[in-house]
């Protein structure tokens, strides 16, 4: 069966520090991968998606970047975090654009 792992579960970082969140998927090959940000108790905003190794599409301009160094690994990064980067970050995978997405448990990021 397929599984998705995100870590860390929670992270507290000072303003201006770098960020690296990692997401890995097991049990499937060549998945579509997604990074979302969710404001407290609200809907999801798509940040990045990837249809293959090294391919990244950005949906919104921001202080973040994404990379996909391996087929089942998706990384969300920042060189210098801003206060506005606080939020709940969710990674998801799907077998195709017209298929359901399956979410990880998220990372709660707090910027101080």
């Amino acid at each position: 069966s397929q599984t998705i792992h995100q870590w860390p579960a929670t992270l507290v970082q000072p303003v201006g520090s770098p960020l690296s969140l990692e997401c890995t998927v097991e049990g499937t090959s060549n998945p579509n991968l997604y990074w979302y940000r969710q404001a407290a108790g609200r809907g999801l905003q798509l940040l990045f998606y990837s249809v293959g190794i090294g391919q990244i599409s950005s949906e919104v301009p921001q202080n973040l970047s994404a990379s996909r160094p391996q087929d089942r690994q998706f990384i969300l990064s920042s060189k210098k975090l801003l206060l506005s980067d606080s939020g709940f970050y969710l990674c998801a995978w799907g077998t195709g654009f017209n298929q359901p997405q399956h979410f990880g448990d998220g990372t709660r990021l707090s910027i101080l």
Binding site: G41, R42, G43, L44, L46, N98, P100, F103, G106
Partner: protein
């Protein structure tokens, strides 16, 4: 940009009551999904509706896709405390590319 509006944003009811959550848009979607999310976890898919007018039932939950595929509703019968959570609708555009999420409905069912 396609937008999905969910209403109400918050709902607090007593156990045993019925409720309906609405998801509306001016855009047409090829399909629409409903997710449920608990605090500190990712959303979990409940159902996908594809055909205009389609009705799907999942135990006490009834999902309906509007005839014009612009709106959807989730009806819960005899709500239970275990139904508490954030309910999200998400629509897929006709190109089948991205999911657009609604703002969510936070439901609390009190025993």
């Amino acid at each position: 940009t396609q937008l999905l509006e969910q209403s109400p944003q918050f709902l607090s009811i007593q156990e045993g009551e019925n409720l309906t959550v609405y998801c509306n848009s001016s855009s047409v979607f090829s399909s629409l999904q409903w997710y449920r999310q608990e605090p500190g976890e990712g959303p979990v898919l409940l159902v996908t509706v594809v055909t205009g007018g389609e009705v799907k039932k999942l135990k006490r939950l009834t999902f309906q896709f509007g005839d014009a595929r612009k709106d959807s509703s989730l009806h819960i019968t005899a709500a239970q405390p275990g139904d508490t959570g954030l309910y999200l609708c998400a629509g897929r555009d006709n190109a089948g590319n991205m999911l657009t999420f609604g703002g969510g409905t936070r439901l609390m069912v009190k025993p």
